[in-house]
Symmetry: C2
Subunit: 328 residues, 2 copies
């Protein structure tokens, strides 16, 4: 796929106009579909993330105090091109380098890697982490898919706050690897996304059916079943997460319930209650819960569960620290 | 309509379970579909609001520091009954009385008025304000409909913070009246709401069409037209709001863009940008902007604009004050 830098960007640039007018602490990086935090300290390592658009409030909504220093977007569901990412890295670098959080999608990896390679060759120290929390199953070969989905926001917050508190580039890399490997995400959709200006759904899903293990780019899931109840959905997802994370009683976990966009807040809350009940049965200690529309897929309806084992108590402090990022 | 206190409340009680588990500062008032702020000072006048459920994060999402002291919900789109409201008023009263914020719907007024009447007869001083910001037009008689819709959140925040800073019951009543009469709201839907567990939309709206002046309880709007562009929608709504608010160049206003639920965040941002451009053409000074899913109607897709004339600079301080209410 040839990446064209400037096509299909009208929606994104209009969004940035609104975001920077409404949030005084955010500013556009000139000529780029990128937003940065105006009040960042010169002493901290800047944190960059980004990807395709259509996942709002990700990623611009996570730019702010103790989270991302900047985010860059491509067109809907298409990552920004390497050259633009490189410009943002140069813009952010104050001599100490830049840390980058990348979601595990082929196109994202290609563009971000190329930008990082180029930046390093210019003498800018860059380290990164790849979020790969998705544990859906490929229907063709039954292998796990490790796309980067809702768990990515935990990396934004934990790494962002660690950088704010003065962590070095090497410390951020170590922390990123620890957090990225401690978590897993699985979700379902009740309605596929439709691309703006197009009335066709991105995959087929009859009303009343749900699809397990959907992606955030309109990819269909691994299994479609009729909707029965929120409890049964919670049970299916938690069983699969338990197989992956292999928890013991009384372990401490961080919980994220992500609303993929068009699910009502009431349904999100009812599902959250079911999830908390199942986790209580396993006597897990849920030390931090975040719910809401965190990483969406336009107007897709659906929910996902992310569980992250609390391997270090510092992570909890990082999560609890205040931020002015509007998506958190 | 006979009000049955305990029917159709399962969804609401499960939501409350989730809310109180996830938010340590919120607690259920025993045996009631009501939530209160645990850390409220004994010295302030407690603020109560509520209504039917299905509008999440309203109203529980506005309980917190410098906002509501408590909120009570009825079943979906049905207000709580007077007797339950009365119990919450008694629970909140510490001798200085209680201030209540009510949305202007017939059933809400009936239940809240009865509760207030009874509380007063028991010697509890109660004052209230009615939010009536909606300016849609009745198709039958061309009269304005003054339902309480998204602008209600401005009352929650401004009155809540004034109470937190020590305003008396009389001062809150005066402030409430000033704010309630300074604002107007108008919106449109692109997709009707569906009640949970029911696949039938609450009014007919063909895909690709939009309905102006919809309600938040599944009421249809005053005019249905094919969707053309976000700009044209913004223009129509702002013209109607200007006819009502009759602003002059360079006046200061507060802006709320409310997402009715299922509209994507990207569409909300694009619409926000269009609204800001039209207001800039009129040289209005927008001193404060709040966007997001503030008062929803289950899974209805649509957006509304609220404009509130800044009659007093104190209002801006009240709006800017920090809060831990999860819906703000």
């Amino acid at each position: 796929m040839v990446q064209v830098c400037n096509k299909g960007m009208d929606f994104v640039l209009e969004s940035i106009e609104a975001i920077t007018q409404v949030n005084a602490h955010l500013k556009q990086i000139e000529d780029l579909a990128a937003v940065y935090y105006r009040e960042v300290s010169e002493n901290q390592i800047p944190i960059l993330s980004g990807g395709g658009s259509g996942h709002e409030p990700a990623h611009f909504g996570y730019v702010g105090k103790g989270m991302l220093t900047a985010a860059i977007s491509g067109p809907i569901f298409v990552p920004p091109c390497a050259n633009d990412i490189l410009k943002v890295i140069r813009f952010l670098n104050r001599g100490k380098g830049v840390f980058v959080i990348i979601k595990n999608f082929e196109a994202d990896l290609r563009e971000f890697s190329q930008a990082i390679y180029q930046a390093r060759s210019e003498g800018i120290p860059v380290k990164y982490v790849i979020s790969h929390d998705d544990i859906s199953v490929e229907t063709s070969n039954f292998k796990l898919r490790h796309r980067g989905v809702a768990g990515t926001v935990l990396l934004h917050k934990i790494i962002g706050q660690a950088a704010y508190e003065g962590a070095s580039l090497e410390e951020l890399e170590r922390l990123g690897l620890e957090v990225a490997t401690a978590m897993a995400t699985l979700g379902f959709a009740t309605k596929p996304a439709t691309i703006l200006g197009d009335n066709h759904p991105m995959f087929q899903l009859e009303p009343g059916n749900i699809s397990f293990g959907i992606g955030i780019h309109g990819e269909p899931g691994y299994r479609t079943v009729p909707f029965q109840s929120s409890e049964i959905l919670a049970n299916e997802l938690i069983n699969k997460l338990k197989m992956k994370l292999k928890w013991q009683d009384r372990e401490s976990f961080i919980l994220v319930i992500n609303n993929l966009g068009a699910t009502s807040k009431m349904e999100e809350l009812i599902f959250t209650n079911d999830v908390l009940e199942f986790l209580a049965l396993d006597e897990l200690e849920i030390v931090f819960t975040k719910t809401g529309r965190l990483v969406t897929s336009l107007d897709m309806a659906g929910l996902s569960i992310t569980l992250c084992r609390l391997q270090d108590k510092k992570w909890l402090q990082y999560l609890q620290a205040p931020t002015d990022a509007f998506g958190w």
